[in-house]
């Protein structure tokens, strides 16, 4: 007797909807087992992780603040992954966006400036991220260099660049030698939505991006091209689509969105540059993209869920003295379960006797 995979004749819509939910349920279950193994009360730990973040207004605001960059980045990554372009350097593109946008804020610090400043910063951030994403795209299309490795290597480069800037040339002279830039001026910060909390205009921007992307993917030729190149590259070539140009396009778009997320985080949430402005948004967004089935609206829902795990992890660090890495374990498990469940949507596992196989 052995297990074999068998392709399902048709993929049922019910399974498609169910699969991410099952993945989340399995992750929560495994999380409970892990907490129990660490000597904690699993119910209490699960409560801290998944319920506390959404049980008061402040927590909900924080979830939205954390979900914003995740959603923005994931929408871009979904376009890449759909067309078989493996951009895994969104973390670096996020940092480049923060650097480029932050540079405008720092350069105009203390000089009179007008309402053009904030749009310029957002544009600068998007351009910064797009620039860093362009490098692996060009290296892939021109030289055939593996984009997975090149885009990832650039994450380290961007991290060191930011580190150098905030410790060196951009360090706040009045900051007691702390590795951080000046606090951005009010004109250079993204307005808050409510008086208290940190929720800012970045979140509505992310929602608009989701809507625009959803329409583009579902209703335009470009969206069709992206899906076709990923699913049937030969057919796409016969149809006259240029896959090199498409690679450049999706990398530029996903880099720009990651960069936009970076400048929103810097100018909206943190309001200055520091060495650690990201708790790994660029990598977590990969999980968001897959949990959201590479669909913009799906990314929105998935982004909120993964934002909860970030806040839950911070809560658990304070109340349960758990290391922050537990969050990463949960996120990694989630990606495993999402992928496994998606595979079981396409395939059926069947037990067959050895004779039947041979």
């Amino acid at each position: 007797m052995r297990l074999v995979l068998e392709r399902r004749p048709h993929v049922s819509v019910r399974l498609l909807v169910l699969s991410p939910l099952v993945a989340v349920a399995l992750t929560v279950l495994c999380g409970a087992v892990m907490f129990a193994a660490m000597g904690l009360d699993p119910w209490q730990a699960l409560h801290v992780y998944f319920v506390m973040p959404v049980s008061d207004a402040w927590g909900l605001q924080e979830v939205a603040v954390k979900a914003t960059p995740l959603i923005l980045i994931a929408v871009g990554l979904a376009l890449c992954y759909q067309s078989n372009n493996w951009n895994i350097g969104a973390e670096g593109q996020f940092l480049m966006g923060a650097i480029a946008g932050g540079w405008i804020a720092i350069a105009t610090h203390g000089v009179p400036n007008g309402p053009w400043l904030l749009p310029a910063m957002l544009l600068g951030g998007a351009l910064g991220g797009a620039f860093l994403a362009l490098i692996p795209a060009v290296l892939k299309t021109r030289f055939g260099a593996n984009e997975i490795l090149t885009s990832l290597m650039l994450v380290y480069v961007a991290e060191y660049l930011l580190d150098w800037l905030v410790r060196g040339p951009w360090r706040d002279p009045g900051g007691f030698n702390m590795p951080q830039t000046v606090t951005f001026e009010p004109e250079a910060t993204i307005p808050l939505l409510f008086g208290d909390g940190r929720l800012n205009l970045g979140t509505p921007i992310a929602i608009v991006v989701v809507i625009v992307a959803a329409i583009l993917v579902a209703r335009t030729l470009k969206g069709f091209e992206i899906r076709l190149v990923g699913e049937a590259p030969r057919a796409a070539r016969f149809a006259g689509f240029n896959d090199r140009k498409l690679t450049i396009t999706v990398f530029l778009v996903s880099g720009a969105l990651a960069g936009l997320a970076g400048v929103i985080e810097a100018a909206g949430t943190i309001r200055q540059l520091q060495p650690a402005i990201s708790p790994g948004y660029g990598f977590t967004a990969i999980i968001v993209a897959f949990l959201g089935r590479l669909n913009p609206v799906g990314c929105l829902v998935a982004g909120v869920f993964l934002a909860i795990t970030f806040i839950g992890g911070e809560n658990a660090q304070i109340t349960l003295r758990l290391p922050l890495d537990v969050t990463r374990v949960i996120q990694g498990m989630l990606l495993f379960f999402v992928l496994a469940c998606d595979s079981l949507v396409a395939y059926r596992v069947r037990l067959v006797s050895r004779e039947a196989v041979a």
Binding site: L139, F143, I148, M153, D325, R328, Q331, G332, F336
Partner: protein
């Protein structure tokens, strides 16, 4: 010890973990599987290695623990990619994220615990050869093992039938299956071997290179090992060459600072990553854009009965 000797020694110690991880991944990729989770398996090896070594007081058990941890993560990857035919790129990324997190949880109790690193083995007579003797024949066991592994893998791939079958699986899994070879079982063994090598590389980091645990201590070495496999065109001896080249680049940073070169330390730290990109581009130019990689690399295989 002369400066040249010291530099050579540090190059060898920096290159060894890269070589161990790369030679394992090379076998995996030759069998047609792309496991991007090297970084995750490596850091789990590092964390488990030092945890076991501290708890039991035995470095040997620590090394075995590291190998077991690497293989356990590799087995998880195998279940996903072979058992469920999941996209290998995405599974590898999941493995890396998961491994980085889990290593932090495992290692949390051991942060800052110092222990004595694994010592060097002095090969008599040979180590008395002037200059090269001390550099080449007075090394820790991992260095010897890495060279043996390269030779062993070369011999296996090119001189044995099993190696030929493994390569056949990587070049065309449908044909290999049609000839009656158990493609998935062969790939499983290759993936486990890759995991063991990555775990070993991790053990080298936490038990020899810097004999204590810090979170994220692999610092992208798993990814550089993947780049080395591409650089090496999937050939074992070239992987060794690549590892020593990259090892040299990594330690450039230490020595440049030692000589007082007026360059920001961050630029030097970023150099290995930048040079990895340059090397990847150059090697593709040399090959005129044609990939010499195994033809079935990264393509999931579901045997139809």
């Amino acid at each position: 010890m002369t400066i040249a000797e010291a530099i050579l020694l540090t190059v060898i110690t920096a290159a060894t973990p890269l070589l161990l991880a790369a030679i394992g991944e090379l076998v995996v990729e030759r069998s047609g599987v792309l496991n991007l989770g090297v970084e995750g398996m490596m850091i789990m090896g590092a964390a488990t290695g030092i945890a076991v070594a501290i708890l039991t007081g035995s470095s040997a058990l620590g090394v075995l623990g590291a190998i077991a941890a690497g293989m356990a993560l590799a087995a998880l990857f195998a279940v996903m990619t072979l058992g469920l035919a999941v996209n290998q790129v995405a599974s590898g990324l999941a493995l890396t994220i998961f491994g980085l997190g889990l290593s932090g949880v495992v290692g949390a109790r051991f942060v800052g615990v110092q222990r004595e690193g694994i010592g060097k083995i002095d090969i008599p007579v040979l180590s008395d050869i002037p200059f090269l003797g001390r550099v080449l024949f007075e090394q820790d066991p991992f260095v010897y093992l890495s060279v043996l592994l390269v030779g062993g893998v070369w011999w296996f791939l090119n001189r044995t039938k099993a190696g030929l079958v493994l390569r056949a699986c990587g070049e065309n899994h449908t044909s290999a299956h049609a000839l009656g070879y158990p493609v998935l079982r062969i790939r499983l063994v290759a993936i486990l071997f890759g995991g063991a090598c990555a775990g070993l590389a991790g053990a080298y980091l936490s038990l020899v290179y810097t004999p204590f645990w810090t979170s994220g201590m692999t610092a992208g070495r798993g990814w550089i090992a993947l780049a080395i496999v591409v650089f090496a065109s999937w050939l074992p001896w070239r992987a060794a060459l690549g590892a020593y080249l990259f090892g040299g680049l990594t330690i450039l940073q230490l020595h440049a600072q030692g000589f007082g070169v007026p360059v920001p330390s961050q630029l030097l730290a970023a150099l290995p990553y930048l040079l990895t990109i340059v090397v990847l581009v150059l090697i593709m130019r040399v090959r005129q854009g044609s990939t010499a990689g195994p033809a079935s690399l990264g393509v999931p295989f579901v045997p139809d009965r």
